[in-house]
């Protein structure tokens, strides 16, 4: 049952007649390999966040001073955009579990487009910083800001590539209600990209 979206857009009349096969709780959605990958990625970001905290502790004033020049509005908009795109990914998985491949493909396309919005806003932000002559060598704060956001940016691009590939496959009918590991795999990766941003944004842009 969908908990993220309480309002059923299309009332599922078959839901009572044919209850979905019970999933074993310990089953991971998607391919097991992607989870090794997700944990490894989270570990890298986690170490990066720890390094940020460590460096900030030694230089709080510098971090606080330069943090206020970051574009928090764009950051907040991007947060909403990514969370929304994750919702689209959830809808896509839900659609394919019902066997609605075309709908799954559409939701995925919307997730990719939201990712595109994130990328465009981020590029504007990067261009602005570049115009101000800010580089990795400006100071430790900007080093972390640029490294973390750029590294995450590359993950957004990677996620968009994955979701696009899955969307095309879904469109061509490669997935069904019983066989759709690929959709779950792509969605899981996309949620990881989203999750990292949800930590990154308050940490680097807001908290001081």
């Amino acid at each position: 049952m969908n908990v993220l979206w309480p309002v059923q857009l299309q009332p599922d009349v078959n839901a009572i007649a044919t209850p979905p096969a019970p999933r074993r709780v310990r089953d991971l959605p998607g391919d097991f390999a992607i989870w090794i990958f997700i944990y490894a990625e989270l570990l890298v970001f986690g170490v990066f966040f720890l390094a940020y905290a460590f460096a900030r502790a030694g230089n709080v004033e510098l971090f606080n001073e330069h943090q206020q020049f970051l574009d928090r509005t764009t950051g907040a908009v991007n947060t909403l955009v990514l969370i929304t795109s994750s919702l689209f990914a959830v809808r896509a998985v839900e659609a394919i579990r019902r066997g609605a491949a075309a709908s799954c493909s559409r939701w995925l396309a919307m997730a990719v487009m939201s990712g595109g919005v994130f990328v465009v806003l981020k590029l504007i932000e990067f261009a602005d910083k570049q115009e101000q002559g800010i580089t990795l060598s400006t100071n430790t704060f900007y080093m972390f800001y640029l490294s973390l956001t750029f590294f995450h940016f590359m993950h957004v691009l990677m996620g968009m590539v994955i979701l696009s590939a899955v969307a095309v496959k879904a469109y061509r009918g490669a997935y069904s209600a019983s066989r759709h590991t690929g959709v779950e795999t792509g969605a899981s990766y996309w949620h990881m990209v989203d999750l990292v941003w949800i930590v990154l944004f308050p940490l680097v842009y807001v908290m001081h």
């Binding site: 391919d31 390999a33 090794i36 990958f37 490894a40 570990l43 890298v44 170490v47 990066f48 390094a51 460096a55 990795l136 060598s137 080093m143 972390f144 490294s147």
Partner: protein, 463 residues
């Protein structure tokens, strides 16, 4: 042997083992020169012995990789090698060019060799590990191109497996990054920066793909586990190896004049480099535990498990020891580096080549596996070489810790040579461990000549 053309791997493997013996002999000479500075002077000065020791290692590993490719590519692609004749021709070109280069190192003063070979036309010599005359480097490129053409055509025309494609990617990367050996800028910072693109991006980048694919191939053969399972592991391992290894190059940029952010990037990403090696260990043991058959070549299984463990220890753990910038500030260029270098090269690359040789050589000689006595001797040689390498690493680590303490960390640092004298005992112990390694190597070579019960061999060959 499933395909006749796989036979071209044999001379490559034999040459590899021959050069391996040479490498170890020069290692022992150098090890002795650490404590007896004028040993064999002026015939073989320390710098020459070191150059021969490291260059022979690289060359014999390349012979091993090429032999491995010629053996496994036809089997994976399910077709004969595109041109066995080209493979044999390249073998002789590479062997003769390599031998001439080593003789050049030994017989001519290095500056004279540079002059003789026209280094001034395109100066590339005089840099650690890339000491080869420019003309030899060009020869390496020609051999690499011919080799890539040969196996590339075979792979593209045949069955494309993940093992083959990962191997091909690794080998293409090996050739591409070697091209930076020809870039030799005036600026010393830039020179060092791109020098690492050959050295680091080989051993902590593309070579890991070669290692992973050879290991996957051998495990596939000796365990009979589903190809799908092995391929998935291989994908995840190489993806992790590349993510951590490529940006991990930064751990060489801390103190060479590159921007400061490399201290963060290098530390964070290279700290993750042990992960793919750990996964490789889990992978190897997992596959062997899930094996569907008892392969008669137990020696090859031992090598495969051994390389996974030793690569994790040598490359992963000993690499991590000194990879963080604040630690490396003190350990840079000490015996800690030498300890890591020895165990990492042995564990990751020497052992993977010995793994594929162990698996392939009996097949190339018309048997499924070596006879029992030969395998027992080979396994003994495994333990002699591996345990002595552990001790070489531990002694060098001990020497390194003392060196860091006395020469770098203490309030009253001592001069380099004063410290070297104080840690002499460790160098002696390392030399003894090196001699045990040589004994192991002699046993290894001997194992190819051990005759066993002919009936067992015959029945294995028909199996």
């Amino acid at each position: 042997m499933q395909y006749q053309s796989q036979a071209v791997a044999k001379p490559y493997f034999i040459a590899a083992i021959g050069l391996f013996v040479g490498q170890i002999l020069f290692g022992l000479i150098m090890g002795l020169q650490y404590v007896m500075g004028d040993f064999l002077f002026p015939e073989i000065p320390f710098n020459v012995a070191r150059m021969v020791h490291t260059n022979l290692l690289i060359v014999w590993l390349l012979f091993g990789f090429m032999g491995a490719a010629y053996f496994l590519v036809p089997e994976e692609a399910e077709r004969e090698l595109h041109s066995p004749k080209l493979a044999l021709a390249l073998f002789w070109i590479f062997l003769i060019a390599g031998a001439l280069t080593i003789l050049g190192y030994l017989l001519v003063p290095y500056a004279g060799l540079a002059k003789m070979t026209g280094n001034h036309l395109l100066p590339t010599m005089g840099r650690e590990f890339l000491e080869q005359p420019t003309i030899t480097k060009l020869g390496i490129v020609v051999v690499a191109l011919g080799f890539l053409y040969n196996i590339g055509v075979t792979i593209l025309a045949g069955r494309k497996t993940v093992v083959n494609l990962v191997l091909l990617t690794g080998l293409v990367g090996l050739a591409v990054f070697f091209l930076f050996a020809f870039y030799n800028p005036e600026n010393l910072v830039k020179d060092k920066f791109y020098w690492w693109w050959v050295v680091h991006l080989w051993v902590e980048g593309v070579w890991e793909l070669i290692l992973g694919s050879i290991l996957a191939f051998v495990l596939l053969k000796v365990t009979g586990v589903d190809r799908e399972v092995i391929e998935k592991w291989l994908y995840v391992i190489i993806a992790m190896a590349l993510i951590t290894g490529v940006i991990g190059t930064g751990h060489h940029f801390y103190w060479i004049g590159a921007p400061e952010y490399w201290q963060w990037w290098g530390s964070i990403f290279s700290a993750m480099e042990p992960i793919p090696f750990f996964m490789m260990t889990v992978f190897a043991f997992n596959m062997v535990n899930r094996r569907r058959r008892e392969h008669p070549n137990q020696a090859a299984v031992l090598w495969a498990l051994g390389t996974a463990v030793m690569a994790f220890l040598g490359a992963g753990v000993w690499g991590f020891l000194h990879t963080l910038a604040p630690v490396n500030y003190y350990t840079h260029g000490t015996q800690i580096t030498a300890a890591h270098g020895h165990m990492a090269f042995y564990g990751a690359y020497v052992m993977i080549v010995l793994t594929i040789i162990s698996y392939a050589m009996p097949i190339l000689r018309g048997q499924k596996a070596g006879n029992r006595s030969a395998q027992v001797l080979e396994m003994w040689s495994f333990w002699f070489m591996t345990v002595s390498m552990v001790f070489i690493t531990l002694f060098l680590t001990g020497a390194g810790i003392l060196q860091v303490w006395m020469q770098r960390y203490s309030d009253a640092p001592m001069a380099f040579m004063v410290v070297q004298e104080k840690i002499e005992l460790f160098y002696w112990m390392r030399e003894v461990a090196g001699l045990v390694f040589l004994i192991g190597l002699i046993m290894y070579v001997w194992s190819f000549f051990v005759k066993g019960d002919e009936r067992v061999v015959a029945s294995a060959a028909t199996a």
